[in-house]
Amino acid sequence: MQSMKRRPLLVATALVAALALVVGLSVAAAGTSHATKAAATMPAPKVPNGAAIRAKYGGQSITFIGDSVGGSHARDVALAKEFRKDTGIKVNIVPHSPASDQSYAQLARIFSSHSSSMDVAMVDVTWPGVFAPYLVNLKPALGAQSKIHAAGIVANDTVNGKLVAMPWFGDFGMLYYRTDLLQKYGYSAPPTTWTELFAMAKKIQDGEQQSNPNFSGFVFQGNAYEGLTCDALEWIASSGGGSFIDNGKVTINNPKAAAILDLFRSQIGVTTPRGVTTYQEGEAQTAFTNGDAAFERNWPYAYSLNEAAGSPVAGKFAVAPLPHGPGGHSVATVGGWQLAVSKFSKHPGAAIEWVRYLTSAAVEKFDTITNSNVPTIPALVKDPAVRKAAPYLNPATAAVPRATRPSSILGQHYNEGSKDIYQGISQILNGASASSVLPTIQSELQALLK
């Protein structure tokens, strides 16, 4: 009798213990997050006119499709908390997928079903043209505030005279490198060409792998997703291979593009980890922050994570413009996110106040200092506190010419066009020769332009 009573309890305990073990292992596998440390360095700014906003919209609830990369979710949470404290408006934050083509799909679903499930969303720099019919015109409410932002980005966010999104933060690709390792192996400056980068990466990797077998020379975003389109644009445009589509014509199938792509293909598994073809921003940043890479291509957000207290590479890295190909010059792919209000929102007034708060100078400064994003307000770039927190805003790195993805010309077919590009480049990185893949990408993009 006794054993019969004890059996179910034993089974339940064993199940709970096994589940706890599994959860514990998965958390350990996920690694530590430096996010909370970064966001804690500065308090969120107060909302100007908080009382007046509270009187009009206090008690309302809006849904914000926010950021998820690095420490950005923690930043959104801190800002939402302050916003609620000052205005009484509750902001429900739903982090979007870190892969921006999936985030696009999420917004496309919401807009095509006319759903009011979200009020404010982060919109990538390539999307205002596609989603314009579904977005609120922010010019009446925020036109004055938009004047402090960079004119180029505001122009990108204006479709047929409607300001469909407000600039939130800028983004551009840059090269992170280990200053201590460059010094150790006798290099005085970061590489200026891709061949130089791979040569330096090989020498450093060979040396470091004696003590750390997981060390690699160079990490970047090589998975088959939108991020690969961004990286590949930098490789090709900096080598004189064009920007996929130039002046209305598809130009990707050219010898210079093939040469630089074949160079990258030859380095997979040699100076880059073989698994780099599965890396998105998170994996590349983890490898570099853990001290397992000499060079990394990533966006500015990674700066604060590398510099955070407790990071193995804090104080041992710096940033520089990305290298270029023979006869070319360095470029950086334009990234950056905007904030848009859905036409189907039930609380457009409260939503616009949230956007007004987020795109104010005070909050952009907060974002740059705590999350190392690039402000879209030119005046902030001259602010000494901002320059101290974001050294990559120095003219050398920040003034690198920008390469833009062909989003305006592809319009609503941009997602599909980008997929044709990144699937093709993924095949090249995984072993196919560029000359066998580029003609296919060329014809696929051609078909979309018709």
Binding site: A14, L19, A108, N214, G275, N290, Q412, N430
Partner: protein, 306 residues
Amino acid sequence: MASVATTVTTRRRRRTKLQRRQTRVAWLLLVPSLAVVALVALYPLGKTVFQSFTNQEFLALEPTKWVGLQNYTTLIHDTFFRTAIWTTVKFTLITVAFEFALGLAIALVVNSSFKGRGVMRAVMLVPWAIPTVVAAQMWKWMLDDTFGVINDLFVRIHLVSHSHAWIAEPSTALASVCAVDIWKTTPFVALLLLAGLQVIPQDLYEAAEVDGANALQQFWRITFPLLKPAILVTLIFRTLDALRVFDVFYVFFGNRPDTQTMAIYAQSTIVGDGHVGYGAAISVAIFLIIAIFVVIYMTVNRVTEE
């Protein structure tokens, strides 16, 4: 046989008023659930078939047009889809075979009585209990070639000479995703087969012992024949699930062209590219391919029963 036939005809001639009334009541009781099934299953299926004959786009502002069989003719020449079908079928054959073999072995072991059997039955379900996406992400990090624990372990015990990029390398990519799915779903197969094993009466084994049959003979002559219904149900479940696989492939590979499954290709066409009409044609094609497997199983089932 002849006697059965006469009984049937006699029954038909003698349908009484009571029987007809009972049939009517039976239909009335079934109508609500049939209506729900029609709404939830038949309506979306019908709508998908209809959409496959149009050129509907997700975010298009122009009205949708009827295009007849154009989507299907494009589909026949679509090499991406052909690769996806082949990847999915390969995955299905490998995983169902391994899961069945391992699941049967585990079910036989857990069916016999030993100390701690109850605990074992609970613990063995843990992989199945974890959400697939979570398990897939967990394994993706564990299999990583730079910071993954699997490579670290294998190198330490000298199973491999250096870290392998199991997921990135095309030669090991399918094997790695099959391994994760087998880890996850074998407990489910074991559970279904265990249920079938527990229905087999114990006295059959006792009689076989008396007759002098050894363990292997007992398995082939008693266990396997009586387990056939459970085996067929399990295989149908697993095959249909494997043909529709999405989560684990998506977490591991994203939209990598050489490892797309049919479901991933349909999703990226409809939601990513916005081609609802063409995507609907892909979905109908997937439905037909799965229907073929269902017909095969049903035929085997009917043949076995006779």
